[in-house]
């Protein structure tokens, strides 16, 4: 058997994504590629006012447009489709898929058109005439908390949707808040750093906008719904409930999904309307969001104001942190809206062992697009607040920002570490990662370069920041649909392996990483493994991909299902080889007795035997397929350090990134190439937030950044080469030791970039700058205007 090629172990290797050939060649199938005989198209008439009472909706002209088959108002839709459910346990006002009597943000649907083609649908939507009684637009969240200048929802007279909630030292469930420790910390401090910090509103902007095809087949009383979603099983759950079908009668398919970034976790009104109308009209319906709609009708991210107070001794020991957060959540609670800022509370202490911490959160309704998860979902905001405060402290006491961090880290021997904010950090060694970053960046050398550049009259700065985040969600208590994932692994009759995963990857590369895992586990070539996902008829159960969970949770479910199938296959092989199961090795496409290579049987032969076991081992049923659910007992807490060098144009204020170093610790890596790709994308979005991205509304609640003419997305040419490295601190939470990495770059980079910009402008007396770092803003600071 020496002719058998030796298959290298694949876990840990840089294997190119198997997904990419079809994606880059345009051979993938997205929702808009789904075509069904008799398909009709939807278009939504959307509000062009931020706040108004609907006096009337005149659909006559729309109904007269050639090709239009139906026009329905919000009131008509509400006759068969109830208010939309949310996925958090917090109170929430009614939110109709199509507005019934009041519109509360520009872009809210007011009517829907069904037409033979999308052009006719759009023409008709434009022809719907809505008469509004204008109401004052609520735009400033802090003013909104006084109930001024208007109230969005009658049951929320101060526009406060939630809170104030408090967490931290001295707070226990059902007991009065004890402020003693926090007050003592601040009383003992030599100084308190105080700053109002804005983490601005962003538009997620996946390359593929949202889209849905709903196909109800009356003859079967079944609905198939294709959607550009991150979580088809959750979509199925909610759609089935909303349109009155059992989950057994609804099949949800997430075909190729061109990016989600958290915004496609939501189940949106357009999906409910398509499903309900398809059932009602008994016809297949398609709606594809256009880019202009995406800016208005897909959730936004971030939009938190943080009031930070950091109490410290002159030697850099931090004694306490107070953070008061005001979250501008927009007009409604979407699926997870209310929960996202609570993540910011949980992670507010960062990677530091602060003795006393108090975080308070108030969520406020305004006349803007609702916010919800966007890459990082609460952790970027938390990281930004604490890291900005640490950076300001370092500057205040003239201490190296790295050394200040080092002084306040949670020490490695304190893990698992229970934070005052309710998290239990699984594992960590922050100093190791910090040191690796300092080394990779050449920190001392960079400081010399900065000095030289400044001497030459250039405006150059260095930034350093740490992050710790929570991902791999998580125990069911922490995830509303359940905190597990599911997988089924099947060794087919020909020895090929098919596996399903309930994680629904849409860019994370799990078709590759999961195949690497199974190829190693079964000792077969990776080309013999296929990973299927994104179809509830194929994948029996699942939650989905968000919160950097697909590898840590979905990967473990797959791993565990593989263990079960392999054990059964070993019993068949043991019977054939007349050996003990525990003596068998699966490698190089064979199964052999350990130490006896001549005993090897081809993997495919054993597989075939398992499906036609003419002489069958006792108590062993035919077939090689099994499944596993996996629920971790805790989240994972990856961490890292980033270092950036920025130059600000002295004449114009334009900031240019000269150097970007990111050292991440996500535990064990299955495929470092894919990990780096995830980091690159994350960094791009985080740097984008710092430098060029911001959703802006005017005083009337009109969005001023409604297209790519005004809302910038970062492009590859905007960046220097990212310098990446990793440290490895495995998690004990799952057997893979993998933590998750999809959001790390986005979470870590904004404070690093801003720290570098502040450092660059520090000769001008600058200590903080709010994002985005618009050139005009930086230029004005260099002119000596107050920040």
């Amino acid at each position: 058997m020496n002719t058998v090629p030796v298959l290298p172990k694949l876990i840990g290797r840089r294997i190119k994504r198997r997904e990419d050939p079809r994606l880059v060649r345009g051979r993938a199938t997205y929702v808009d590629d789904v075509k069904i005989h008799g398909l009709r198209h939807l278009a939504f008439k959307r509000s062009d006012v931020a706040h108004g009472r609907i006096r009337s909706v005149d659909t006559r002209a729309a109904a007269a447009v050639d090709g239009v088959e139906a026009v329905l108002t919000g009131a008509e839709i509400a006759g068969f489709l109830g208010p939309m459910p949310i996925g958090t346990p917090f109170p929430s006002p009614d939110h109709h898929a199509v507005a019934v009597d009041t519109v509360r943000f520009v872009g809210e649907p007011v009517a829907v058109v069904v037409a033979r083609d999308r052009y006719a649908a759009r023409d008709a939507a434009d022809a719907v005439v809505v008469d509004y009684e204008p109401l004052p637009a609520v735009v400033d969240p802090e003013q909104a908390m006084t109930g001024q200048p208007a109230v969005l929802h009658a049951d929320y007279p101060t526009n406060v949707a939630l809170g104030p909630l408090s967490r931290g030292t001295g707070i226990r469930r059902r007991q009065p808040v004890d402020d003693t420790a926090v007050d003592e910390a601040f009383a003992a401090a030599d100084m308190v750093i105080s700053q109002r910090i804005v983490n601005q509103r962003l538009a997620p902007n996946s390359i593929e906008p949202r889209g849905v095809v709903a196909h109800y087949e009356g003859g079967k009383d079944e609905l198939t719904i294709w959607s550009s979603t991150q979580n088809p099983h959750i979509l199925r759950t909610f759609v089935a409930r909303m349109i009155g079908l059992g989950q057994d009668r609804v099949r949800a398919i997430a075909p190729e999904v061109g990016g989600g970034f958290g915004a496609k976790i939501n189940i949106y009104g357009e999906e409910y309307v398509a499903a309900a109308l398809s059932k009602r009209l008994d016809m297949p319906l398609k709606w594809i969001e256009d880019r202009s709609e995406a800016f208005l009708a897909t959730v936004h991210g971030r939009d938190l104001i943080g009031y930070v107070d950091l109490a410290a001794r002159r030697d850099g020991s931090v004694l306490g942190l107070k953070l008061r957060i005001v979250a501008d959540i927009g007009a409604y609670n979407m699926l997870l809206t209310a929960g996202i800022p609570t993540n910011s509370m949980t992670m507010a202490g960062g990677s530091y062992a602060f003795p006393a911490v108090r975080v308070t959160l108030t969520e406020v309704f305004t006349n803007k697009t609702p916010t919800d998860a966007y890459r990082g979902a609460g952790r970027p905001e938390a990281t930004y607040f604490v890291e900005r405060a640490m950076d300001m402290l370092a500057r205040e006491i003239d201490m190296d920002p790295a050394e200040l961090r080092r002084k306040n880290f949670i020490r490695p021997d304190r893990f698992p570490y229970r934070t005052p904010l309710g998290a239990v950090y699984d594992s960590g060694d922050y100093e190791k990662t910090l040191d690796r970053a300092l080394e990779t960046a050449g920190w001392a050398q960079l400081r010399t370069e900065r000095a030289a550049a400044r001497a030459a009259g250039r405006v150059v700065g260095l930034g350093l920041s740490m992050y710790v985040e929570s991902c791999g969600l998580g125990p069911s208590a922490m995830v509303s649909p359940g905190g597990w994932e599911h997988s089924q692994v099947t060794v087919e009759r020909d020895g090929r392996i098919s596996a399903t995963t309930g994680a629904s990857p849409h860019g994370q590369g799990n078709e590759t990483t999961f195949a690497q895992m199974l190829a190693d586990q079964f000792g077969v070539p990776i080309d013999h493994v296929t990973i299927r996902h994104g179809d509830t008829a194929v994948v029996k159960q699942g939650i989905g991909t968000f919160g950097s969970r697909s590898q840590a949770v979905g990967g473990t479910a797959l791993h565990n299902a593989g263990i079960k199938v392999k054990a059964k296959m070993a019993r068949f092989a043991a019977f054939l080889l007349e050996a003990h199961e525990e003596d068998l090795v699966f490698e190089n496409g064979t199964i052999a007795v350990q130490g006896a290579p001549s005993s090897a049987r081809p993997f495919a032969e054993v597989a075939a035997y398992a499906y036609k076991p003419v002489k069958r081992p006792e108590d062993l049923d035919p077939g090689l397929s099994d499944e596993a659910f996996f629920e971790p007992l805790n989240n994972t807490y990856p961490f890292g350090c980033q270092i950036a060098m920025i130059e600000v144009d002295r004449g114009t204020g334009e900031a240019r990134l000269l150097k970007m170093v990111a050292v991440n610790d996500a535990g064990h890596l299955i495929n470092p190439l894919i990990v780096e790709g995830q980091i690159h994308g994350g960094l791009a979005q985080g740097i984008g937030q710092a430098l060029i991205e911001e959703v802006v509304y005017d005083r009337d609640g009109q969005p001023l950044t409604g297209s790519f003419m005004d809302y910038a997305l970062p492009r590859a040419a905007d960046f220097p080469r990212f310098e990446l490295d990793h440290t490895v601190t495995p998690t004990p939470v799952n057997p893979l030791g993998a933590k998750g990495v999809g959001e790390a770059g986005t979470i870590g980079s904004p404070p690093c970039i801003v720290a570098a910009a502040v450092d660059a402008l520090s000769p001008f007396g600058v200590r903080h700058i709010d994002m985005m770092l618009r050139p005009e803003k930086l230029w004005r600071l260099m002119q000596g205007e107050p920040s």
């Binding site: 256009d290 004449g651 001023l704 809302y711």
Partner: protein, 306 residues
Amino acid sequence: MYAPDFAYYRADSVAEIGRLLRKHPGAKLLAGGHSLIPLLKLRLAAPPALIDIGRIGELKGISVADGRLRIGALTTHAQIAASSEVAAHAPALAAAAGVIGDPAVRNRGTIGGNVAHADPASDLPTVLLALGASFAVATDDGERAIPAGGFFQDMMTTALGEHDIVTAVDVPTAPEGQGQAYEKFSHPASRYAVIGAAAAVGLTGGKVGRVVVTLGGLVPAAIRAGSVEQALSGQAPSADAIADAAAAVSNDLGPDLIGDIYASAEYRRAMAPVCVKRALTAALKRASSVAEAPAARSPWWKPSWL
């Protein structure tokens, strides 16, 4: 992003464009489509008909003759940016064409479409004004030439009549010793110019000779910075002289400048001298090097900026 209904015609010659324009009042010409199609999809424009002129061969290509560079209206920005003739004879135009939008825009967008559209933040009008270009226009009655100075009249408004068609852009070849530059402060989203400044400067006996400076992005149509030109002309090209001349641009800016959420009018006003100074500095650097060593002038296959 679905355009309203329109009729589509394709013209195979300039004469046919004229016939179709007369036959279909309100029709718009479709060349590269990179300005028109977004307007249609945003439903900001709803012309009854589009006349596709994109395949008319006589409107494409670049040639040099009689001291001028003739660039066909359908020549793309990418072709202009890559042209050795343009690089040799109108280097600021090559530079500007190379920083328009992004590669996709440059591969489709055309010079004729660009100038006829006359976006105030567009790069080419600023440069063409600085280089003293003129536009060959086919009219109902034949042909006429409109100099760039009289062409751009207001925001998206030109001297073109209802049936007029830009067929080519004529750019005088740079005189011996002239240095040219285009300085762009780019918007990160649109990649249009927040401010664009072009300079064409000649040196005579170590002093600044003829100098033209233009600005885009500040007012509804590109303008000449006459005060800057006057201040610099006849001066020795020192850094101080350049800075002083650039500062004079404030005299060329009226009370009302364009402003938006990215860059306020006040900020743009402050940026005007910064961009002018950079454009002048770069142009003078090239001018000096040419004047000092005329024999070393780049052969046509090697652009002077290499």
